[in-house]
Amino acid sequence: MLWQALTLQLGYNATLVTLGATLLGVAAGVTGTFLFLRKRALVSDAISHATLPGVGLAFILMVAMGGDGRSLLGLMLGSAASAWIGLLCISALTRRTRLAEDAAIGAVLSVFFGIGIVFLTFIQTMSEGRQAGLEGFLLGSTAGMLYSDAVIIAVGGATVLLAVTAFRRPLSAVAFDPEFAASSGLNVPRLDLIMMGLVMAITVVGLKIVGLILIVALLIIPPVTARFWSERVTGVLWVAGIFGGVSGYLGAALSAIAPALPTGPVIVLVSFAMFALSLLFAPARGVLAAVLKHLSFQRRVHVRQGLLALAQGQPIYEKLTLRLLRRAGLVRADGVATSDGKARAAKALRDETRWQMARSREEFALAATFYDGLTEIETVLTGDQINELDRLIGAPKGVRP
């Protein structure tokens, strides 16, 4: 069953829903990256909670006009309208009052959500309301999704993805340095509005699958995860898109075999698993990589300091240094240097002397920035430059090239 779900063999509808969710995940990861880089993650939480009154009102209106009330398109339009009003409220509160944005977000989020819950409770009392399944919009559900719903989600996701891709350069310029961006002619408020509009589109499109409480996870966890893997915006965008897509795909596939399970939480758990793994194991910025890098760096520093001490005939007191030197066969058990150790020590001292000279001369200023106490000077300077250094050092105190 699980295998069939993962390989899209659970029938036409389930397959379509899974594909839609995947596309939505990719679009959300990519859009969320800009939200994350611009440090506006929480606004998306307010946007998503502000959709609820719109969902309720749209349902009531559609029923009042004699319609079905469950039309996804209608509910989406309603949710978009109320999310937009929520967004306007936040921006008005921050601009016209002395309220900070986080306070405005908190106020709008809770008030809109509260109003939405009142509407939903009222709908429960309507005769048409009992089977409405609007609770699905809270935590997301793929159960009973129609072919047309899946198509709307897929098309919506793809459209947002295209738009974000087109705007990737101005959006990242604004996120990095808004003043410079404005000086080069970018309209910063308008770009912020475009970003929020795209976030709103993702929210509205994802409402049915992920649910409004957890959609923020689909927008924010993938970019945060991706940040562990790359030091460039392009890289973060790609990885966030892939992680978002995988979350959407697994979430939808898993909830296809367990319809009682809400889709939103499954998607969040999948993306959290990827986050945890990246936090630990990512090569660029992961915790484990950092620890390993630190340990190896510490060892090299100890060996180097030990060698310099040997060359200058100073005693070595640190146990770790001695142990490392002994393990490398550079000193004997009694602390006396082996012949290997003597050669390496002389080399280290010569390196250090050359570095000191290079760092004191202006013509080597650029090379001097590479000094870290470990790098061998031959890897930075040419033979001619080293000869020049040796000439400047002059009659050496016991070190010959």
């Binding site: 350069r169 340095d177 410079f180 030091e231 460039r232 915006v233």
Partner: protein
């Protein structure tokens, strides 16, 4: 008489000559709240000149630059660049912000930052090509940072970051350069590297406007000064406008008289 001669003899140009100037600011007032940060300021920067904007902390120097660049909207007044409204002259302006409000942990490498100087030229859908990268690398070379092209921006020292921002402005390939305190927090070697680049720009006929704090180097680095303390205090060539009297007026009691006398008389 050319615009530059006019400017140097009068200190300011008449309004109808503003079209010839690289930058002309007219009765500009900028305010963040009820209290204006810049009040009714006129400023004229002749083409090919190098101007220092000088004034105490909070005098409105950065604000004036940002308003001239159209980054903030002035309450009153206007700025023209080469005789045109700023919006129409963007391609001819480059900017190095006061270092800065950027997020140093931003996922971007040095070369990517310099490439941002080309985004305006590239437009929304233009493709980033090899030639653009070559150009960005050349700009890094001009500030001696080519070996750091692949570093994450946060892994640089303050002086190196300043050089990268200068390289980004160079990539904009402009005619008028605005720099907000390019020398703050940099050592003598970097200061020299930056001033060499700026003087190179002037030699190519470009115009440079820089906010500057070190009074002792003003006469060496610049040919014009603009003294501001919310309102304009003095404007003109170094000889005309950089005097103990004008400095006293701009800084009030904040500089010891002896210090004032030394820097300005030493010109």
């Amino acid at each position: 008489m050319t615009a530059i001669e006019l400017a140097t003899s009068n200190g300011t140009l008449m309004d109808d000559h503003g079209a010839d100037a690289a930058l002309a600011i007219r009765s500009m007032t900028v305010s963040y709240g009820q209290k204006p940060a810049v009040f009714s300021v006129d400023m004229t920067v002749p083409r090919g000149s190098m101007t220092a904007i000088i004034g105490p902390n909070g005098a409105g120097k950065s604000t004036l630059l940002k308003a001239a660049l159209g980054v903030i909207k002035p309450l009153a007044g206007s700025a023209t660049v080469f005789g045109q409204p700023v919006e129409n002259a963007r391609a001819r302006i480059a900017y190095v912000p006061q270092r800065a409000s950027v997020d140093w942990d931003f996922p971007t490498r040095v070369l990517d930052v310099v490439l941002m100087g080309l985004y305006r030229e590239l437009g929304l859908l233009g493709r980033l090509r090899g030639t653009h990268k070559t150009r960005a690398m050349e700009c890094l070379e001009r500030v001696d940072m080519q070996d750091f092209a692949k570093r994450q921006i946060g892994q640089l020292s303050g002086g190196q970051q300043q050089r990268v921002f200068l390289a980004r402005a160079l990539a904009q390939n402009a005619d008028l350069y605005f720099l907000d305190e390019p020398f703050s927090g940099v050592d003598a070697a970097t200061e020299k590297a930056i001033i060499n680049v700026l003087q190179g720009l002037r030699a190519d006929g470009k115009t440079v406007v820089a906010v500057h704090h070190d009074l002792s180097t003003v006469p060496d680095y610049f040919d014009r000064v603009f003294l501001i303390n919310t309102t304009r205090v003095a404007e003109g060539t170094v000889e005309e406008a950089f005097t103990p009297q004008t400095l006293q007026e701009a800084y009030g009691g904040r500089l010891a008289m002896g210090q004032l006398g030394q820097t300005a008389l030493g010109t």
